[in-house]
């Protein structure tokens, strides 16, 4: 892991080590980071019968349920797009965020045996669990392509902006994941807070419906939920702009997400110092 020769490295251990050393260590331990990602992927579907098929069945089943409930029964408007596509385009970022958040918030507790026996920058644990969720995201993206082909719906130039919106999804998830992972260490209450808030979030985020049904005057307030900007972005990029982008909302979402990430980093670093003593 640490490749430098013997004589060069001198390690200084003292209270409140400067942040620069920390980020240098994160870089040094990048190989362990990938090993942890690799481990979590390997372990994921061990001793399951249908294995990876779970990653296909879950989003498809949810898509059908949402289409039936919101599209067929509640007859919500779909902005001229087949309802299943509208739902699936939103479920891509939503499922990614929900998985990543629940995995990362429990990650420190789940690796407690490592944390009390070996040194490495602790931040690689929650971040690696977010990366693992990207695997499911990629599989879902392939399913999305299949569903779009089925409906004869081809994306246009806007699809190249998709990575930007994925980044926009990554920011709040990493921020909240760091907060929850650190809080979980001392207050196990957050083990219950996270699933609850995810369940709640599914209904207050425009996953099953288009955000255009929210009255104009509430749109900015609605955008306080960072997922709103992300989901609108995904629909815009994948569905040929069928859903209009609401720029003030996107900007607000991005700013909030960035603030969440920065505060999350700050809190995580603060907790990290005493982590092995309280976990």
């Amino acid at each position: 892991m640490i490749r430098e020769g013997a004589a060069q490295i001198e390690l200084l251990i003292e209270p409140n080590r400067p942040a620069l050393h920390y980020w240098r260590d994160v870089w040094r331990y990048r190989e362990l980071f990938w090993f942890l990602v690799w481990r979590d992927i390997l372990v994921r579907y061990k001793q399951t019968v249908i294995g990876v098929a779970w990653s296909v069945i879950r989003p498809l089943a949810t898509m059908i349920a949402f289409t039936v409930v919101f599209g067929l029964l509640a007859k919500l408007p779909s902005d001229e797009v087949p309802y299943p596509l509208l739902v699936f385009a939103a479920m891509l970022p939503w499922n990614f965020c929900a998985n990543a958040l629940s995995e990362s918030s429990g990650s420190l507790i789940g690796n407690a045996n490592l944390l009390t026996k070996v040194y490495f920058p602790r931040i690689i644990i929650p971040v690696s669990s977010i990366i693992v969720s990207l695997i499911d995201f990629t599989i879902s993206l392939v399913i999305m392509a299949g569903v779009m082909l089925w409906y004869g719906y081809l994306p246009d130039w806007r699809i190249v902006t998709l990575p930007l919106f994925l980044l926009l999804a990554f920011l709040p998830v990493a921020g909240a994941g760091l907060w929850f992972a650190a809080l979980n260490v001392k207050y196990r209450d957050f083990r219950y807070v996270v699933p609850f808030s995810l369940q709640f979030g599914l209904y207050v985020s425009p996953v099953g419906f288009a955000s255009s049904i929210v009255p104009e005057k509430w749109r900015l307030i609605y955008a306080l939920n960072p997922m709103v900007g992300v989901i609108d972005g995904f629909r815009w990029a994948l569905l040929n702009g069928a859903v209009e982008l609401y720029w003030p909302g996107i900007l607000l979402s991005s700013a909030l997400s960035l603030a969440l990430l920065i505060s999350g980093l700050w809190f995580f670093r603060k907790t990290e110092r005493i982590l092995a003593d309280v976990i």
């Binding site: 013997a6 490295i9 251990i13 080590r17 190989e31 481990r39 061990k46 490592l114 907790t271 092995a276």
Partner: protein, 419 residues
């Protein structure tokens, strides 16, 4: 030669907070109090609480520890339980941060505080070698290069693609140690990991450790096994109450350690009770009162203690409880069971000896707790205040180790019955 490890004024403080119980508190009080303290915790987490509900106490696990280790030194760290050895290793391996002072380390460090850290039960032996290697600080290329050697050492070729959860415990430990043994750091920090496995395996580990030392690496080694320390280490530190009490040549420090710590007596055990009657000068030993902490199966054990009362009591209960190292209670000895009346007089000290003629306990370490009281009132309770070691041998004629999970040995007579 310049030091590779330089520790200066190292200190580590833990804050222990006790929650006080309030005499009469309604549910509403409990809720408002906890909301108040919760909000406090959220806004200033991990700082000591000043709320009247919590009493916090500072505890220095290490204080003003300074020492130097030179290149190629093999240093043993010894001391009683609670002396701060594990805390020191944790700070040296950067698992936790010190509260004060500093450490400078030159060279690549690997710490081995546990065998098989990060092993995942669902993964195969092959996968775990890579994972564990990476966790201990090896690069992917390095593991690949040593992979065959590791598998050879562990003797598990056949089970390389079996999940380790299906391994026997022996295979598991062998594989785990094999990975650790192939680390090539300049500085190796080892905790009591050699205490696992059977005798043969322990010998193998010690041999490997010696090899590491002879290659000119620096080794820091914590152990309770003085024999292992004596064999491996050139220098020694004696830690006690969070400070370095003695340092120097291994043999000198071990001598000092044996002199300072009266055999069998645990320094500062947990103590409870109202103090109406108190224990003092407790130890185990031979029939003439000479302190001793190691016994063979079947040897007599004598437990000595004195009792001093603050008031005169006609009859008090005194009992001894034996617990093994896993915390399981093994035996209870009490003056009432044995039909002995013990009384006590205000301010008068009386010495007692409890003789156990045959100690038929399975060979391992045990803790003795002393309790005195009356019915549900506890006068004095010293938890795990005496540690003794029971060794194989004595009345047992077997050669191989006694089954480890057994609690006691029942002396028996065998005869052939012919119909």
């Amino acid at each position: 030669m310049t030091p590779v490890i330089k520790v200066e004024n190292l200190g580590k403080k833990y804050t222990i907070s006790h929650q006080q119980r309030e005499e009469s508190s309604s549910l509403r009080d409990v809720i408002t109090n906890s909301v108040r303290s919760l909000s406090k915790k959220v806004f200033s987490p991990f700082t000591p609480h000043t709320s009247p509900l919590f009493v916090s106490e500072d505890f220095w696990a290490l204080k003003d520890v300074s020492f130097e280790v030179k290149q190629g030194d093999r240093v043993g760290i010894i001391g009683r339980n609670g002396a701060g050895k594990s805390t020191l290793l944790k700070i040296l391996s950067r698992i936790t941060e010190p509260t004060s002072g500093s450490i400078r380390i030159k060279g690549r460090v690997a710490s081995l505080l546990e065998v098989g850290t990060g092993f995942h039960p669902e993964l195969t032996g092959r996968e775990n070698i890579f994972l564990n290697g990476a966790i201990l600080g090896m690069g992917r290329q390095e593991i690949r290069k040593k992979f065959d050697e590791i598998v050879d050492f562990a003797e598990i070729e056949k089970f390389l693609d079996t999940p380790v959860k299906r391994y026997s415990s022996g295979m598991y430990v062998r594989l785990a140690f094999a990975v650790a043994a192939h680390l090539e750091p300049e500085i190796l920090i080892v905790d009591e990991v050699l205490a696992v496995g059977d005798a043969q395996f322990q010998r193998k580990c010690l041999g490997k450790m010696e090899e590491v030392g002879l290659e000119g690496r620096t080794v820091l080694f914590v152990s309770h096994q003085l024999g292992a320390i004596q064999k491996l280490c050139t220098h020694c530190f004696l830690l006690g109450a969070g400070a370095v009490q003695h340092s120097g040549k291994t043999s000198e420090v071990i001598e000092e350690y044996l002199r300072v710590c009266r055999p069998g007596t645990v320094l500062a055990p947990v103590r409870k009770g109202n103090g109406t009657v108190t224990f003092a000068d407790y130890h185990v030993g031979e029939s003439d009162g000479k302190p001793k902490e190691q016994f063979f199966i079947g040897d007599p054990i004598h437990v000595y203690f004195s009792l001093t009362g603050r008031e005169s009591l006609a009859a008090i209960e005194v009992s001894l409880e034996l617990r093994d190292v896993y915390g399981d209670s093994v035996a209870h000895i009490s003056n009432e069971d044995d039909g002995v009346v013990i009384s006590c007089m205000d301010g008068v000290r009386r010495d007692y000896c409890v003789a156990i003629p045959e100690c038929n306990l399975a060979p391992k370490n045990y803790f003795i707790s002393l309790w005195t009281g009356k019915l549900y009132e506890t006068y004095d309770y010293l938890i795990d205040c005496i540690e003794i070691t029971v060794l194989q041998g004595g009345i047992l004629s077997r050669k191989n180790p006694y089954p480890e999970h057994m609690k006691c040995y029942l002396p028996s007579r065998w005869s052939e019955v012919n119909g």
